[in-house]
């Protein structure tokens, strides 16, 4: 008989609720065998992956109350870190984790999984292995090519549960990973303890977003489950939220194309026959099925597309609001027609868009309204060019045409719009695209990933050696 595995789950890129200590105390009273939190994702788009930067979520601060509880009670923890989850992103979080440990006098021995895929490794896989196929038919990608590999700034893969299982089996105090399959983090300890993959994956599916699966949903709250060989019970550690059948089934829908089927490394989770039954303290979930499939990991790679500069104008003049789209289109056309930009436009090195907040900025061509219906609107001039200088020059050119360009019936001949931001042209950032969103077949789920066991806080010497990986 397999012993139940009790999991406390949360989301580490969201700041915890103010009363999170009470939730942790409640979960500890029920019993906790592992504390798990996701901290990576692709939802923010390809920018962080390409640039090496990350959203300022302070993930080390978010995990502090959980790590304190884990170390005090000898409970292992499993966190993915760094949003885009490349080596540079993970390292930023690990250094914050070093500081957290130093400040608290903690010295945990932790497994670390780096999720970046080396270009040489991937090029060899493309050249010698089976086809590396696109993961999504909506991406417009073909099978992966050597040029795709060479052009990417950085490539990560969503590690499955296996690298985490390998490290947990070594008796570490916790595991920190880069980009990872969210549910895989939750599956690792149950699978290591012999719980069927279907049950482990189903539990992971319901726990992966922390308190978002409860009612009311809030990822700043935690969630708890006790997982056994045939199913699991989910409870809310917060008195202000509840696990209900509706909240949990709704959560199986969340961010998934299909309501009951989810493709994962090594198989598909099938919740078509899953059952949910309310218990005294929560909901009992059973009936998941796992269909085995060849083992693949999803890779994400980002390629630089150019540099973005923007300008913002506010319009409150009724005569102009009535013809805002035509006025903005005319400015766009004037940029395109300017001899200084002609070559860059023709070769695709310069692209200009105007988005009118108050008219069509959200839906674009799907917007049914053809005129501004409110009393004011904002015009965002959005330029992407191959260099920062060209982007700024074209944005300023468009700004001036919008600011002084004549339009029918104009009375405000000294200036068409209000400029709210100085400088009027704002250089934003490099722009990236997901050039790789492909499935990499793996004979060994651990093979491409650098794994180590390290004592935190790491010494400066150790950090320097890590620099070689980033």
């Amino acid at each position: 008989m397999t012993e139940p595995v009790r999991i406390l789950g949360f989301v580490n890129h969201i700041a915890p609720a103010a009363d999170i200590e009470d939730e942790i105390a409640q979960a500890l009273e029920w019993g906790v065998d592992v504390i798990v939190a996701q901290g990576t994702g692709s939802d923010w788009g390809p920018y962080w992956l390409g640039s090496g930067e990350q959203v300022s979520a302070n993930q080390a601060a978010n995990v502090e109350p959980y790590v304190r509880a884990a170390l005090e009670h000898g409970i292992p923890f499993v966190f993915s870190f760094g949003i885009a989850g490349g080596n540079v992103h993970l390292e930023t979080c690990l250094r914050a984790f070093d500081e957290l440990c130093a400040r608290n006098g903690w010295a945990p021995r932790l497994g670390v999984v780096r999720s970046e895929i080396g270009k040489d490794y991937l090029a060899a896989a493309v050249a010698d292995g089976p086809p590396v196929v696109p993961a999504s038919d909506g991406a417009g990608h073909g099978n992966l090519t050597l040029a795709d590999v060479a052009d990417a700034e950085r490539i990560v893969a969503l590690i499955g549960p296996e690298p985490v299982m390998d490290l947990l089996a070594r008796g570490v105090d916790g595991v920190l990973t880069g980009r990872a399959l969210d549910i895989g983090l939750f599956m690792a300890l149950p699978m290591l303890r012999g719980i069927p993959t279907a049950v482990a994956a189903h539990a992971g599916k319901l726990l992966e977003c922390g308190g978002l699966g409860l009612s009311p949903g809030d990822s700043g709250r935690a969630i708890w489950a006790s997982v056994d060989a045939t199913g699991f019970e989910v409870r809310s550690p917060s008195r202000d939220a509840d696990a209900t059948v509706r909240s949990l089934v709704s959560h199986t829908f969340y961010e998934r194309s299909h309501p009951t089927l989810e493709e994962n490394p090594g198989g598909t989770l099938d919740l078509g026959q899953a059952t949910y039954r309310e218990t005294e303290l929560g909901v009992r979930c059973e009936g998941a099925v796992w269909h085995d499939a060849p083992y693949t990991v999803l890779m994400e790679g980002a390629r630089r597309e150019g540099f973005r500069a923007v300008s913002l104008l506010g319009v409150r003049e009724p005569a102009l609001l009535a013809q805002a789209r035509g006025w903005a289109d005319a400015a766009e056309a004037q940029v395109a027609a300017a001899p200084r930009f002609a070559q860059a436009f023709a070769s695709g090195r310069l692209k200009v868009a105007t988005r009118i907040f108050g008219l069509d900025a959200v839906l674009g061509s799907l917007e049914p309204n053809t005129a501004v219906t409110g009393h004011e609107a904002g015009v965002l001039v959005d330029v992407v060019a191959d260099t920062e200088d060209l982007a700024k020059e074209a944005a300023y050119y468009a700004f001036i045409r919008l600011f002084i360009g004549p339009y029918p019936g104009r009375k405000t001949t000294a200036g068409n719009a209000a400029a709210p931001i100085m400088p009027v042209v704002v250089p934003v950032s490099e722009v990236f695209t997901f050039s790789i969103y492909h499935l990499l077949p793996l004979a060994d789920p651990l093979e491409p990933f650098a794994m180590s066991v390290e004592t935190f806080p790491r010494t400066a010497d150790r950090q320097e050696r890590t620099d070689a990986l980033v």
Partner: protein
Amino acid sequence: MRLYDAAAIVRSKNAGPFAVTIDLFFADEEHYRLARTSALLTPAGVAAAYGVAENTVKGVWWDDRILAAKVSLQRWSSSSDPFCADLFGAHLHTPLAAAELV
């Protein structure tokens, strides 16, 4: 009745960067049935509401237990597009929600 008025919750979100999924939750059996039997909430109806090809609609699914529906389609402009207006896909429900449940 517009879908927006029939549903209690209408939520839109990315399902990976290249797909968007719209979850619909209904407060009672009456509104759920109205939606379930509509022509709007079929692949053809969804495609028409968004002005996209029907083969880019991944599906429309129903869950009688919780009076819910799921609509998924390929994104026509994703976060991979430099001019994407909605990185998280959180506002892509609006053309569907505004349509009449016929």
